[in-house]
């Protein structure tokens, strides 16, 4: 599983950061940073939740 963020859509709402802080972080500069592009399977449920709850629908998952 690889986390893909469309940064043209992302507006740093930080919802993803609340759901999976292991993977997403919005820093003081208001930009989103991906801490781990290939999180382990144990985080799949949470990452999928972040994908669905992103207000801008800016996150997707690629397999592999």
């Amino acid at each position: 599983m690889r986390v893909v963020v469309d940064f043209d859509l992302c507006e740093s709402n930080a919802v993803c950061m609340q759901i999976v802080p292991e993977v997403f972080e919005v820093r003081d500069d208001d930009f989103l940073y991906i801490l781990n592009e290939t999180p382990g399977e144990e985080l799949r449920d949470k990452v999928e939740e972040a994908v669905q709850r992103c207000p801008k629908q800016a996150i997707s998952l690629a397999e592999g």
Partner: protein, 397 residues
């Protein structure tokens, strides 16, 4: 449970269907919606779509292929007209649909003024509404009156002003967005619009529209008349529950559910239509925001699949965002019935700050302008029933 019917095919309905599949439900999932479109996202309608930056089609949440791959059967343009609760059966104009489990996600529709509305008076809820409004605004800068400064009104005003239109907001309350953010932050929003050149008329109602075939103006309760080429009315929504009258479900400004979102045996509700006691706040609420629609729908789907002992109360911290001009407004928790509202981080003048809402000793809500990270951390604290004092401490660090 073999057949689950979901009435309402917008965000909540779609997320309920997807959650059923995610949780391994292998029976029939049928999504039935009155809107002729496949499920689409509403937030862009008052922003990117209205601004002409997006083709309306870009707001679609899913296509038929993806629905098929999840084995979700969908009927669009199909209004469900009644529910036989005991017989577990729905009726549409053309057929009866038997179900074992039911998700009610029929949402809400715009409240309307009790006055005649000539052409050029719009509301903005559906993709069709957005297309019609965009078409009406395509003729260069125009004079626009926005009736109602709630969420939709404020966003429409900001988008239209940014497009170069002349915009007046008419709001009967003393400040914009009062219901969503309270009086203090509402006043901040009024300033924001005024600084961008919007004429903000507060504490005044609309009497009637001027113009027969096509709107030409708006007569206000204070005797004045505003010129208008286009009017957008956004004065709140009413939950779509008429089809449930007489069904035996309890209806009271929405479908009344228990704390786990169950409205009756085998029946759950989610999204704008659902009213439930949120135990985190000891408050019965009905939430009209995007994040709740999806989150609550997923919880409702899990509730439907749960046996009694597994059922969990749905206790979210509501959260919403609104983009107006270059400001990102985000609100977490509850802003109503606050004992105190304090700017705890940043400064209002700088357009980058967080205000906190206190109820008793507890942190009840947070309002952020261009401060997403801080709102999210406050949201987490609200979920932990954190104290107001600790919230202030964290933000002033």
């Amino acid at each position: 449970m073999q057949r689950i019917a979901i009435v309402g095919a917008s965000l909540a309905g779609l997320r309920a269907a997807q959650e059923l599949r995610r949780r391994g439900f292998t029976g029939n999932v049928r999504l039935i919606g009155a809107d002729p479109e496949l499920p689409y996202d509403r937030p862009p309608l008052s922003k990117q779509v209205l601004a002409g930056e997006w083709e309306p089609a870009r707001a679609m949440l899913i296509d038929r292929k993806a629905l098929r791959s999840d084995d979700i059967e969908i009927s669009t343009g199909t209004a469900v007209t009644s529910l036989d609760l005991g017989g577990r059966r729905l009726s549409t104009e053309h057929e009866s649909i038997d179900y074992d489990g039911l998700v009610i996600a029929t949402g809400a529709r715009p409240r309307r003024l009790p006055t005649a509305t000539p052409a050029g008076v719009h509301e903005l809820r559906t993709l069709a509404d957005a297309r019609s409004l965009v078409a009406d605004l395509s003729d260069g800068p125009q004079t626009i009156v926005v009736v109602g400064a709630g969420f939709i009104g404020a966003e429409v005003a900001a988008t239209c002003r940014s497009q170069g239109h002349r915009v007046t907001i008419v709001e009967v309350a003393p400040v914009p967005m009062e219901r969503a953010v309270g009086a203090e932050m509402g006043a901040v929003m009024a300033d924001l619009h005024r600084r961008h050149g919007v004429d903000v008329r507060l504490g005044v109602a609309v009497d009637q529209f001027v113009g027969d075939e096509r709107v030409a103006g708006v007569e206000l309760g204070d005797g004045s008349t505003l010129e208008a080429d286009v009017v957008v009315v956004g004065i709140g929504v009413v939950p779509n529950t008429e089809w449930l009258e007489g069904s035996g479900l309890v209806l009271d400004n929405g479908v009344v559910c228990d704390a786990t979102l169950l409205a009756a045996p085998g029946v759950v509700a989610a999204g704008d239509v659902a009213r439930w006691p949120n135990l985190l706040f000891d408050e019965t609420m009905r939430i009209e925001h995007w994040d709740n629609a999806g989150d609550q729908a997923a919880a409702a789907a899990r509730r439907l699949l749960a046996t009694g002992a597994e059922a969990q109360a749905f206790t979210p911290v509501p959260w919403f965002w609104s983009d107006q001009y270059d400001r990102k407004v985000q609100v977490a928790g509850r802003t109503n019935d606050a004992d105190e509202v304090v700017v705890a981080h940043g400064a209002v003048d700088e357009g980058r700050f967080v205000a906190l809402y206190r109820r008793g000793e507890r942190l009840a809500g947070a309002f952020g302008m261009n401060r997403p990270r801080h709102v999210i951390s406050s949201r987490a604290l609200i979920a932990e029933r954190g104290s107001f004092a600790e919230a202030i401490d964290r933000l002033t660090d």
